[in-house]
């Protein structure tokens, strides 16, 4: 065994250029597969920490139907999801009155710039109740306070980026900002939330009282979402079902809304990620198969070139299985080296991605083992046939080969 490995290294070293070119397909295949898995892992870590940081025992109701169970019709209707006219005040008060619900808030989105002097910011303005900060843990006060009631009038809370853009590092509390021609008094500002890539949008928001948002919206209630915090973690699932049943009655049996728990959001993300991973892996598999065929080809050449050696080894006592394992090990050593080079490239690539984007690819043990596993399997799968040809050679003819 150790003899075989040593002899594999010698033979690879003696054909450096050829071995390198041969293994290129495996290198590229493993590098791309592992980079993608690392990206997926990183994305999943990000999303799960964002979803967890949002709050605990949270339930969100959105307009539009997201089908989580039925995979055939899986997907969402973007138009209905951003609709602000489906959810009603009745829906909200039913949810708020559910005994399992601790606090709840509606959320309505307004798209208007916020101005301070000659500075302009374009945050997502959310009309909401003050309870929103109790549901969403990410929203932590840095200074001032949240407006006290839903009808507190023209008061505004600035999230980190909005504050930064309009006021730099100075405290905005007590200052006046403009939305359209309305004056708003800044009553509080929020801490920077979630450094992570996709979580960053929470920094680019501003909160105003829900009723004020309705006024800006010409008296029309705008409710894109209802968020609620359940008092007891054990009750999240049953609360979800109760809320769903109540809303289904309110909407006369039409399922034009979705009730989501944090787990649902993660599951949804996982299924999307899984689909993307499968598709990308299928493409990477082609490069691995091409790489494997290259390995097989070069192993067949090697076996022919070393016919005389095979004859000699048999003459000095090598049985078929010894020759078989020698060439199989050689193929595996080549693909494993390729896999390790590919893994190295993937590590460098993920570090570049980390440095130049907001993504955080994670090279976990799972990723490393996948790389090693794939290259070993390629080595065995494409090395076995050449190795069998070597093992079956007739020693006399092999010794006579020139």
């Amino acid at each position: 065994m150790t003899d075989s490995i040593a002899s594999a290294f010698t033979s690879i070293w003696n054909n450096k250029a050829r071995s390198f070119l041969t293994v290129l397909g495996v290198v590229i295949g493993v590098a791309s597969v592992t980079t993608l898995i690392a990206l997926g892992q990183g994305l999943r870590n990000d999303v799960s920490s964002i979803v967890k940081d949002l709050g605990t025992n949270m339930i969100a109701v959105t307009s539009g139907k997201i089908d989580l169970e039925n995979s055939e019709h899986q997907g969402m209707n973007p138009a209905s999801m951003i609709s602000s006219t489906i959810l009603t005040m009745q829906d909200f008060s039913d949810i708020a009155n559910n005994p399992k619900v601790e606090v709840a808030s509606p959320m309505g989105i307004i798209s208007k710039p916020v101005k301070y002097g000659d500075k302009t910011a374009t945050p997502t303005i959310i009309g909401c109740y003050p309870e929103v900060t109790q549901v969403l843990d990410v929203m932590k006060l840095e200074s001032g306070s949240v407006f006290e009631r839903r009808d507190s009038g023209n008061e505004i809370v600035l999230n980190y980026l909005t504050r930064k853009r309009l006021f730099g590092d100075s405290d905005p509390v007590g200052q006046t900002v403009m939305i359209g021609d309305r004056e708003f008094t800044v009553v509080g500002s929020l801490e920077k939330a979630l450094e992570n890539g996709i979580g960053a949008e929470y920094n680019n928001m501003a909160l105003i009282p829900f009723d004020t948002a309705t006024e800006i919206n010409a008296g029309q209630i705008a409710m894109n979402r209802i968020i609620a915090k359940i008092g007891n973690a054990e009750e999240v699932k049953t609360a979800k079902q109760e809320i769903f049943d109540t809303l289904l009655v309110n909407h006369r049996g039409v399922e034009e809304f979705t009730v989501l728990t944090q787990d649902d959001i993660l599951d949804m993300f996982d299924s999307i990620l899984g689909l993307i991973t499968t598709m990308v892996s299928a493409i990477a598999a082609i490069s691995l198969i091409v790489g494997g065929i290259g390995i097989m080809n070069i192993m067949l050449v090697t076996v022919t070139e070393r016919t005389k050696e095979i004859g000699l080894r048999k003459a000095v006592g090598a049985a078929q299985h010894a020759i078989l394992s020698q060439f199989l090990i050689e193929a595996i050593v080549i693909t494993l080296l390729g896999g390790l080079i590919g893994l190295g490239i993937a590590v460098v690539a993920t570090q570049l991605i980390e440095a130049r984007s907001t993504l955080h690819p994670a090279v976990t043990w799972e990723v490393v083992l996948t790389a090693i596993g794939i290259s070993t399997v390629i080595g065995v799968a494409f090395g076995i046939w050449p190795a069998m040809r070597a093992a079956r050679k007739d020693p006399i003819e092999a010794l006579r080969y020139e």
Partner: protein
């Protein structure tokens, strides 16, 4: 004691519709410790005979006993390989050294396939290289050595697993006559001092004269007219 016993051995090669009778009806015995020359014109069947004795090939008819073991026709590849590794050392006309390996590596090669793993295999290899006079060439590659030196490595390799029999197929065929004589002397020394049974295929009368006995083969048959005994 009969080390090798052949009874009515025959070997046919089928090439398409024609059949070549490479060996027919060969019966002979070789005692342990003998040094025997096998002579005969080119194409007479010497190598075929040696391949059968060396368990690289199976006869198509007859009976072969090696030691007290009957070599049956349906012996498995693994069994034959093991017997080769334990009982037989080959020396070839073309040396057949692995160019990538040093002299030492070449001598050690058969130990990878030997069941009894010796812990002292490296020191034994060095000892054998010393025995064949190559103690100063241990790390050299075959390409850096002369033909005679290469054949000495091959002889050390044949001895590494301590076989009963050394089979040498025209071992001097690629050497000048002086070097050839040295190689034959070395084989004779192994025969005398180590008690190895040595079979040498040769064209050269001077070589066969060094052996205790000659077996001559003509057209795949023993040439009964000229069964010589030397000294």
């Amino acid at each position: 004691m009969n080390l090798i016993e052949l009874n009515n051995i025959s070997k046919q090669f089928k090439m398409g519709s024609t059949t070549v009778n490479a060996l027919s009806d060969i019966s002979l015995t070789i005692q342990k410790g003998e040094m025997v020359a096998i002579t005969g014109p080119s194409g007479s069947g010497k190598t075929t005979l040696m391949n059968i004795i060396g368990l690289l090939d199976r006869p198509t008819g007859g009976e072969y006993r090696l030691g007290n073991q009957l070599i049956s026709m349906d012996m498995s590849d693994q069994k034959l390989a093991r017997l080769r590794s334990e009982k037989i050392g080959f020396v070839f006309q073309t040396f057949n050294l692995l160019p990538r390996l040093s002299a030492l590596g070449n001598v050690l090669l058969p130990t990878s396939y030997c069941r009894a793993k010796r812990t002292d295999r490296k020191s034994r290899a060095i000892q054998l290289l010393t025995l064949v006079g190559l103690e100063k060439r241990i790390q050299h590659r075959p390409a850096e050595l002369s033909g005679g030196e290469r054949q000495r490595i091959a002889i050390a390799r044949a001895l590494i697993n301590d076989p009963d029999i050394i089979l040498a197929d025209e071992p001097t065929g690629n050497l000048d006559s002086k070097t050839g004589r040295e190689i034959i002397s070395l084989l004779a020394k192994l025969n005398e001092e180590e008690g190895k049974t040595v079979l040498i295929i040769t064209h050269d009368d001077k070589v066969s004269a060094k052996c205790q006995r000659s077996i001559r083969i003509l057209d795949g048959q023993l040439d009964s007219r000229k069964l010589e005994e030397h000294d």
